[in-house]
Symmetry: C2
DNA sequence: CCTGTAAGTAACTGATCAGTTACTTTCTGA
DNA sequence: TCAGAAAGTAACTGATCAGTTACTTACAGG
């Protein structure tokens, strides 16, 4: 039941420190032959994602975002209205990118057990590769999800994994491979939680246990553990 | 295996919105007959815990903390040196209170399965009753655990639950009730994670699933789920 | 009972920063 | 081809806030 061989973990390790959201390089005034509203908007959004992820909502500076994006601060207000409006746009963009990366999850097996294992491992890898998402989500929850709640875009994105979990649970229960009576939302929260918590709290956990949680060996162990935990639980 | 009957969940629900750390009422100038350094320090710490939990490190205002504590802003610098020093003291105090509440966990059974179930439920209840701890920990991780790392107090507090988990795992494996080869630290992180994530991300999760995660019924379901998840996994 | 030190106060300051103003440049479509 | 709108710039502003200053009040030990 070890799926970790599929993915060379070491390849992702740098991703936890090096945040690279939607590409969109800063727009240098010199190389900008002509005006390009789309590009300006995108480069502000990209710079803002990095700044907010690195320093939080209060910690991020609009001046820094402007400089980093190569645009002018005035443009932030032109396109996004306010700092909060910009943060909300960053969240919406980030949520939208999750939906986009659904395609990344190609369950190679029809077998519910194998498929569920892949799903759990995918979830772990996803958080590993998108540390900026973890940080933004943390920040948003610290603020009572005010931006998500007032955003139709973010709210309408029903976590697509839940439907997949639901379907696997049904097939697995029917074939006698899974226990019955599992609430897919509860299971979703658990699958997300065991990986998310590891990454979101890795700094305090590393300090307290004196274990480098971001080292390749530790990541491999954790990945295997989360898969075993969920599959072990789901046995009938 | 349902332990939820032991605890009337509804009793704790208010705790998630109403934050009440170490007592220490604000010191009103009128009713303060005499000087009391200990009391002043404690009341600043208490007010700071509430402010930092509510608004984060950047969001909290030293003026508000001073007003709320009944002390003067000058006293914050007198006793804690800086805003960061105060935040670190708040973290240390909060960690210390965890250790103090260890006594709350009286495993009533020698049976490893029952005892582990109680431990998981205790962990859930603990986060439910200490939302300020969840927020402070989130905030600290958003800042790379800088305060915890530079604090001997906080770092020296090896999560005591890990030892207990370790002991239960050994006894359960010996008696054939638990699977073997489980890393106690991995299990600890999972036990903490499935409850912590539920509370720390309850705002975005509630918004996305359109389910009131803080409602008594939801809490009861979640509590039961986390216990079943861990015990289900640990079966041989 | 008095003197030095610690506790406490209130008003201030200098830096920072979100958001604005007043302006210039470029594009579009009639 | 030119008028008006949108894109873009740089300098400014008013509010905020962490931290300080200059001061008063209380207390403990000799």
């Amino acid at each position: 039941m070890d799926l970790s061989a599929n993915l060379p973990i070491s390849k992702y390790v740098t991703a936890t420190t090096d945040i690279k959201p939607t590409a969109s390089a800063p727009v240098k005034a010199a190389e900008r032959a002509t005006r390009d509203p789309e590009r300006t908007r995108a480069s502000i959004l990209s710079a803002a994602t990095q700044e907010f992820a690195a320093k939080g909502l209060e910690g991020a500076r609009t001046d820094d975002i402007a400089r980093r994006s190569g645009a002018n601060k005035r443009m932030i207000y032109h396109y996004f209205g306010s700092k909060d409006g910009l943060f909300q746009a960053v969240l919406e963009d980030t949520y939208a990118r999750i939906r986009g990366s659904e395609a990344d999850l190609q369950l190679t097996s029809r077998d519910p057990v194998l498929a569920m294992g892949q799903l759990v491992a995918f979830s772990f890898d996803w958080f590993l590769r998108h540390p900026e998402f973890v940080k933004l989500l943390n920040e948003e929850n610290l603020h009572g999800a005010a931006h998500v709640r007032s955003s139709n875009v973010a709210r309408s994105l029903n976590m697509p994994l839940v439907e997949l979990i639901s379907e696997l649970l049904e097939r697995g229960a029917a074939s006698g491979q899974f226990r019955t009576g599992v609430d897919p939302v509860q299971l979703y929260i658990s699958i997300a939680g065991i990986s998310y918590f590891y990454f979101s709290n890795r700094h305090t956990l590393s300090a307290i246990f004196n274990r480098p949680l971001e080292a390749p060996g530790e990541l491999r162990q954790r990945r295997q553990h989360v898969v075993e935990l969920i599959l072990g639980y789901l046995r009938p």
